[in-house]
Symmetry: C2
Subunit: 198 residues, 2 copies
């Protein structure tokens, strides 16, 4: 049963990711699974329920990967670097599911959509908070930690559109370079601010 559900979600993730949620029917999902349309309903009550399951599981994956790092030990820069690695790992580790979570969640019906909106805000908050802690410690400089968090999250989420497992750079190299691109600016500003204060 559990395996069947996972199989349904995998197939649905691929269809939602490539065609979009709105253009995929329960019949399409059933067909891709070689099932009769009707027997799919024995496993899942509706298309939206499959979307909700995919989105909630993906959200759990992002939170579980990033939250312990955000709340763990280390300087802000160290934690942000590890958080970028974790986020890139989740995006590249399951591109279809990540893409559905990142870009198709808006098709959820209002109650679930509100819950996902809250969960996304909490998630973005991990990045905002650690950036803010780095600023407070004089380690980083960012006039607008919220916008800086949106900036780096958007940059990473773009990978869901273009990442290929057979591409020139693997997930670790990509994460390392993205962390450099993001952090060196925040760190440079902080040292300039210190220079100025001397």
């Amino acid at each position: 049963m559990q395996t069947r559900r996972r199989q349904i979600e995998d197939v649905a993730s691929a269809l939602f990711s490539h065609r979009g949620y709105a253009a995929t029917s329960m019949r399409d999902i059933a067909k891709a699974l070689d099932l009769q349309g009707g027997s799919l309903y024995a496993h899942i009550p509706s298309k939206e329920a499959v979307l909700a399951a995919i989105v909630e599981e993906a959200a759990d994956g992002f939170h579980a990967a990033v939250r312990p790092i955000a709340e763990g030990p280390g300087t802000a820069a160290e934690r942000l670097r590890a958080m970028i690695g974790a986020h890139v790992g989740v995006v590249t580790g399951g591109r279809d599911r990540a893409k559905v979570f990142l870009f198709e969640w808006t098709f959820l019906a209002s109650e679930r959509r509100e819950a996902v909106t809250r969960s996304r805000a909490v998630y973005q908050g991990y990045f905002e908070r650690v950036i803010g802690e780095g600023v407070a410690a004089g380690e980083l400089e960012a006039p607008d930690p919220e916008l800086a968090a949106v900036f780096v999250l958007s940059a990473m989420n773009g990978m869901a559109h273009w990442y290929r497992p057979d591409g020139r750079l693997g997930p670790d190299a990509l994460a390392e370079q993205y962390a450099d691109l993001f952090l060196e600016g925040l760190q440079a500003r902080a040292s300039l601010a210190h220079e100025g204060a001397r």
Copy 2:
């Protein structure tokens, strides 16, 4: 006639942007325009032709805004800052059209899709080239100009998902902050490299 086409494209952009191309029918477009399905075909031959028109026009908009800056005078950092301003301006100036161009173009049939792929590569190339020129001039440091271009373009393109005209920050402020976030890292590395060389 020209106005009618523009009206059709505006309505189609909004529908494609909100529901996705695949989930929007010619009937939906006609209905939103208060037209009979059949009379829409007097103006446009197919749904894909509308998508193609929107995508090509949007692509022209991005190229026309950014290319003259990339090829114009100024240091690499100055040009990149202005290019970021121009790109953010196009994204925020017509969010629906930008969103269709950025995320729905993959639904074009293969010939047109290949043309758009080439056009996108040329566009990304403006950023890559100016970053590379900055590196060559010792003004910027970026071990991988291609990836740095993808990074900043993805960050900006994310705005097509979240930008609201009534939001906290306008297009100019957003562009300014994104340029700071991106450029200060590249500039900081270059000064570190110079320090090391002294």
